[in-house]
Symmetry: D2
């Protein structure tokens, strides 16, 4: 075993922040300490990697932050790292500081960055999927997805109070970029009357059929993914065309879905993946993302990771059954 | 004492729903039962009063709903009641059903309706201030205000996670119509860097001064009342003009502020005002709103109620001190 | 396919209530309606089955209750059903009402009841695992477990505030009966210093070693499963023997872990398993529990289900790594 | 005006921690900075005052912590300060560090300590009432009370789910020491069937009368203050004596009531009182507690503060009406 090769690991968070990142950092610190590995926190993602903006991470401090949202390492998107120039500078920083492995917590873009970096840097990289969008292959859930859905449904539950009090139609737009995961999960779990996601071949016509017969004597909830092509405003217009009497409101949940204390599942996922990242480094692997696939630890090469994560068939069938 | 005059009370909720309305209904039912008064629930506000859309309210059932948002009586805005024709029909409905007193839970518009109705109907009316906006004179807080602020700050706390992780400026727009109460409370209690409310003589220039020197190394939170004249988009434009490098996002909290389980304060306020409404009817009073002013039960004639509730001097001074 | 055999399904909840049961009932109702199956709700578990205490379940009504805790069908433990006499009476009730399949949502005891009942009743039974304890084989999670853990950690997070403010040791006892699942999940996700579960071969000695060196300059959190043999009081005594100066408190989270709105995961699990229960009945299967194993729908015969669900190796290793 | 006399203020938190203390510290720091006053944070209450365990408080840092529970200054009970010896040492520490005014956030015991200290130390002291128990005269609410009640009712709401699902009696014991405030507020706002508080002349007989007729077909919730003389266990015994068939559980909410993010009201109270403490120091006052009485800023001399705060008549009457 080449355990002794890894002496100093750098870790950073990149892309949008997501709840559970601090739990992952805690577990990484704990596992590193247990294995006698030095751990350096790199601030603001690839920006800090280029600039050598470092901090020390101790499990003793992070233990108090397992329950917190955001990321103590801060995060950023880095234009400089998209240029070869920037990546060369990052490589220099790694050498200067004798960092011999990297753990990156982030989404799609983060792993594309690692792939590009691997062309000039041959130390091992381990990825951890951190994004609320759940749009990454090789894991059942990304870090932050469950928290985002819980935030979404708590807010949709509140909206239901008003919708029922007024017999009103509410169109609630949730996040997820090109992925319908947040929408389908939050819609199915709040008793939504219709759910619109980008992956669905079906258009919004079925929704209009339901609305045509809507008698204005009850709430009617529509959950729309921000990635769905119709968009909340146009949908509202179409609904009013078909049934002019409806009382209708649009709410965009927005950035609240991105923050807040992580859910139990996300904290646990962070702990599991953080420990797995150190374990797999010690086993000599490189350039894989640690995920939990079919509820088991699973490691996927970056080339596979960046492929689109599709809403699976079981979910699509549930959507069909429940909302039609 | 003319206690024996009141035998049958009708109650309705009107205008926007607000958390705590069901708690008030519970207390009204309890107090009515204790005093041998028949209680009829009128559905959908003035609409149900016109149409005789009634339901029975028992404290036994409402006891299970004290903790719920929305209103079990449903609510609506009524165009018909704004016409004399509609009010005459409502009067007829009251007579037909031998209702000899009315309790109305709602906002400004609700009390204006009662004033107009009092010109042709001389049974006693009692109002309870139910609106999240806290824009009613004669009470420290309206029913639902504290819940709305709690919902707002829990969401702003989540946004802080992301703002700090990204060193980002967030403009958060909160509700309140023409009143800055929700904005000033939610801004002062979330460590906001700036708060913009319609009542403030001050314009947003002071905010721009702060932003000019903002070094993009931390979060910067702005809470704006929806009633403030500048508006989130224009504010964003102004900020970018003064400091082009900032990373800025706008979030509108929207309708989530209106729903959800009521806070402890709102439930308690509902219980206090519900019991007070029955008590004051039994004392022979009419056409007053029951409120809690300076933390004491207080009854205000409708003519006074509909005057604008101003953000008081202490709050204005706090705003000045904390955000400048 | 014998799809046409099933015309009338009865469903009941049994044992302790758990969050997500109403979501499962909603999905069962929806799937039954889509497939032209009559659905009857049986109240109070086996008690209602014996007595014919029935109610009608419509997806239209249940849609408003997906987000609620508890069970609208009520639940109970039935001594009568443990006797052959009671089961014969239940059989008679089923025949009289032409119910030709049963869906039962409950725990270990519920499935043992179905096994005993299957000796005299040959209509198909489908089980759905509903218990907060996660002590059932054949599913990654039982309905209610994730909600219970989320409730536990939100409360432990609050306790952390006080523990850190006072530099205090807190022993927090969580539920789970003989299973350490709630303890291990809630301990690992709150930065607990020690976690005691019944499945661990390790005794509490390692904890005492940590406490011996505890310098009273920080919080120290211990999460103990109610099934662990030492118990919170004896543990407190042992700790004080080893370090007399510590400031120590015990908190039992108790029944709050059992109620509350279900988490996103539990609602989704309820929806998935509810639909799966109807699907599998239509496929002609009988006497299996629908679960989600390795994140895939999975059906397990009752004989296997009632075997003990062990905390798996990965979790045990995490426990070892994180808390030692 | 003797504004220029105060140049250096020390602040500490003492007694049990309570949500809102950090919000108060933020406001104190902001107001001190605006007025050119140096601010020193004293750690662990009177212990830090004796030992000179100090830290610097900046509004820039505290702004990020307005929403957090506990106290960043830590808190402790001090045996040494109860002796003249300890107080003399504290006096010496103040002189050495040129601290010319003290702000103390705490409860009853804290203010007694200030009174004793005032015998040998003549710099001005200002108190802020910080305790969840609401047992202090001179203020409508103490800092932390509203948060504790909100935590209590959210947990009692969860217990209601189980109580209704099982038709069960629940006895829920809440905190409050000798004060029934938390019990009466949390009971009235959760639809409790009975509430037992120490201040009530009435014994638990009325409760037994209700239970005698309880038909076990619904939930029955009892909220008991920890200060009530009967206690949950004896009450349970009495209930079972009168109605042997009931299904009954006891839950003690315990320390969770003390922590957690402060509610909107507590944050606002912290901000108001923090600013008021600095303001009143600048006006030359000394040895008063800043409170909000009848919703107005109010200053009470310590001698009055330490008198018992009684549950007022309106609340007692509500209790009588709602639960009988």
């Amino acid at each position: 075993m080449n355990t002794n090769r890894i002496k100093h690991v750098g870790v950073f968070t990149s892309g949008g922040d997501s709840p559970g990142m601090n739990a992952a950092l805690y577990a990484i610190a704990k596992a590193a300490e247990k294995n006698g590995i030095k751990l350096t926190g790199i601030k603001k993602g690839y920006e800090g990697l280029i600039d050598g903006d470092f901090t020390t991470l101790k499990s003793y401090d992070l233990q108090k932050l397992v329950h917190t949202g955001g990321t103590v390492l801060k995060t950023a998107r880095s234009k400089r790292f998209m240029e070869l120039e920037g990546r060369k500078k990052a490589l220099q920083t790694l050498h200067t500081n004798h960092i011999d492995a990297l753990i990156a917590i982030g989404g799609d873009g983060t792993f594309k960055g690692l792939l590009a970096f691997s062309e000039i840097c041959d130390i091992p990289f381990i990825g951890i999927p951190g994004t609320i969008d759940n749009d990454i292959s090789g894991t059942d859930y990304t870090l932050g997805f469950d928290s985002a859905v819980n935030t979404a449904i708590e807010n949709i539950d509140k909206i239901r109070d008003t919708a029922e009090s007024h017999n009103r139609i509410f169109i609630v737009e949730v996040m997820g970029k090109d992925s319908g995961y947040i929408a389908i999960h939050s819609g199915l779990t709040t008793g939504a009357d219709a759910i619109l996601i980008p992956e669905s071949g079906k258009d919004f016509i079925y929704l209009l059929d339901k609305v045509k017969n809507y008698d204005s004597e009850d709430a009617f909830l529509v959950v729309v993914s921000e990635g769905d092509e119709i968009g909340a405003e146009l949908l509202a217009t179409k609904i009013k065309e078909i049934n002019a009497n409806v009382d209708l409101r649009i709410t965009r949940l927005g950035h609240v879905q991105r923050g807040g204390n992580p859910s139990a599942l996300d904290r646990m996922l962070g702990v599991r993946l953080g420990v797995a990242a150190i374990d797999v480094l010690l086993l000599g692997k490189k350039n894989v993302m640690a995920g939990v696939l079919n509820n088991q630890l699973h490691f996927t090469v970056f080339e596979e990771v960046v492929k689109q994560h599709q809403v699976n068939d079981e979910l699509q069938e549930l959507l069909e059954l429940i909302t039609n």
